[in-house]
Amino acid sequence: MTISDKLKDHILESIGEGVFTVDKDFRINFFNHAAEEITGFKKDEVLGNFCKHIFKSKLCYTECPIALVIKSNKNIYDFESSITKSSEEIIPIKLNAAVLYNDNREPRGGIVTFRDISEMEKIRKDLEKETHFNGIVGVSKHMQEIFSLIKEITDSVAPVLISGESGTGKELIANAIQKTSMRRDKPFIKINCAVLPPQLLGSELFGHVKGAFTDAVKDRIGRFELADGGTVFLDEVAEMPQQTQIQLLRVLQEGTFERVGESETRTTNVRVVAATNINIEKALNEGKFREDLFYRLNVIPITVKPLRERLDDIIPLIHHFIHKFNLIYKKEIEDISDETLELLHSYNWPGNIRELENVLEFAYVRTKKNNNITAQQLPPVIKSKSVKNVDVEENISVSSGTSYLIKVLDKNKWNKSAAAKELGIGRTTLWRKLKEIGLE
């Protein structure tokens, strides 16, 4: 069954995201109702006009999303950009882009869907202000050392290898490295080596030429070419197949590579930041990861400790996540009961910060407005797997929070109510903790 053009228009009109299409000259020929709502422009004002004249985005001149799709032969999803509304206000958007082809597979137009992310951006910026280093929350000595190291390497373009258990925030560290580096204004391309089938990873990273394999209907540039002058983040690098490891080694050594199916040697200037959550030494011993590549990548090694080994970070993380959920869910939950805090401190956190966030979100959504999060709202696994020995619990929670407690109290000029509020704990809990460490 085919859908009539009228019905297609009706579908596009009724969806919540802004949608517009352009012809081959980049003149707008469709603009849906949501696009009118987001931009403030009426259909009649935009139809027939060049998209660059309407949206006035700097992206039009540097990285037109539709042009990127034509060049890479791959649709774009969740691309962050900004547009100018009819009121001249510039708003951040996230967009998806695709190219419309004619029967001869020649580009004859493009379609862009977009949504206003002003509110999410505001939340992100609010939250980032409260983090301790470029979006990362951490007050423990270990995290402070990592922050210092990142600051020390801002002028370097040497490869970085970040290792740590899953959920410890390796990607956030990679983001911070890129954001503070000299290449912060250049492309930052991320790729998870474990997600793509091994036979496709090489093509994804280095590109391919038409006919290189069955589905290669057009030439396509790879991520290393797209990132030229910038940074590539290779997550789960130890999952990379041997053949691709050799190609990556060559890029690191010489900055050269070939597209799949092509003999022409190309060059690229890319800084590589890689991450792994597996024991890399074990992978080396088992021959799954090349030793020469390891040494090339491991120029600046960063090891992120699991959350259970840096318990000082738990209270600020809890505070950060509750604040985040307050912004998202529009509730005002400020406190967490003493018992809950003890349980969270004494749990082993095999899934690390990601697990802590999920646990807190689970408890948060079950908590009524203006109430405190209590142990009853925690998932059963936390209650059942927390360390039962009260002495151990007390010792951990007291020692882990001490430096942070003092920092927050200093910040609040030793106003205990204000400090308790910032810590996301009750005033009584704060008093008890101070007493335990001999400060009350």
């Binding site: 081959k24 980049f26 660059k52 539709i66 190219v99 020649e106």
Partner: protein, 153 residues
């Protein structure tokens, strides 16, 4: 890669990139006037004046109105700004003939009378250039035809 990619480069005034795309497309579609019209402008900016003149001649004798009927706003044509730039760089051209030809071409998209004047200056420098004299003839014929039509109306 494609005409559409060429159009994007042209739109953001990346004339070298646009030229490459348009030239590749022109091999596939030699009669595509839309490509030819924009490629001519690109060639004036990449220093390939003779090539620009050859294509302009080809388009002028086929369909002079297609060149003349250009609106800087409606068609996002950069000729007005390019002529302004050219005025500022007068004297920078080693070759006066090239300068007159580029002016003749760019004015062709904006004002036919000015265009003829520049082509006539170029013809004075190279009297044997058959293409330039033919372009002038075609343009003059177009003007007299237009005048006749106005009188009839």
């Amino acid at each position: 890669m494609s005409e559409m990619l060429g159009n994007q480069y042209f739109m953001v005034r990346k004339y070298f990139d646009a030229k490459t795309e348009y030239e590749n497309e022109l091999i596939k579609y030699p009669a595509n006037k839309s490509i030819l019209k924009k490629l001519i402008i690109c060639l004036t900016q990449t220093g390939e004046v003779q090539k620009a003149l050859d294509h302009f001649y080809k388009l002028a004798i086929t369909d002079i109105e297609y060149i003349i009927d250009t609106d800087p706003v409606r068609d996002d044509c950069p000729c007005v700004e390019l002529i302004e730039q050219l005025k500022k760089s007068i004297g920078n051209y080693k070759n006066v003939f090239d300068e007159q030809v580029i002016n003749g071409i760019l004015w062709g998209y904006c004002d036919i009378t000015n265009s003829i004047q520049h082509f006539e200056k170029a013809a004075l420098i190279d009297r044997s250039n058959r293409k330039i004299t033919e372009i002038i003839d075609v343009m003059n014929q177009y003007i007299s035809k237009s005048n006749t039509l106005i009188q009839l109306n």
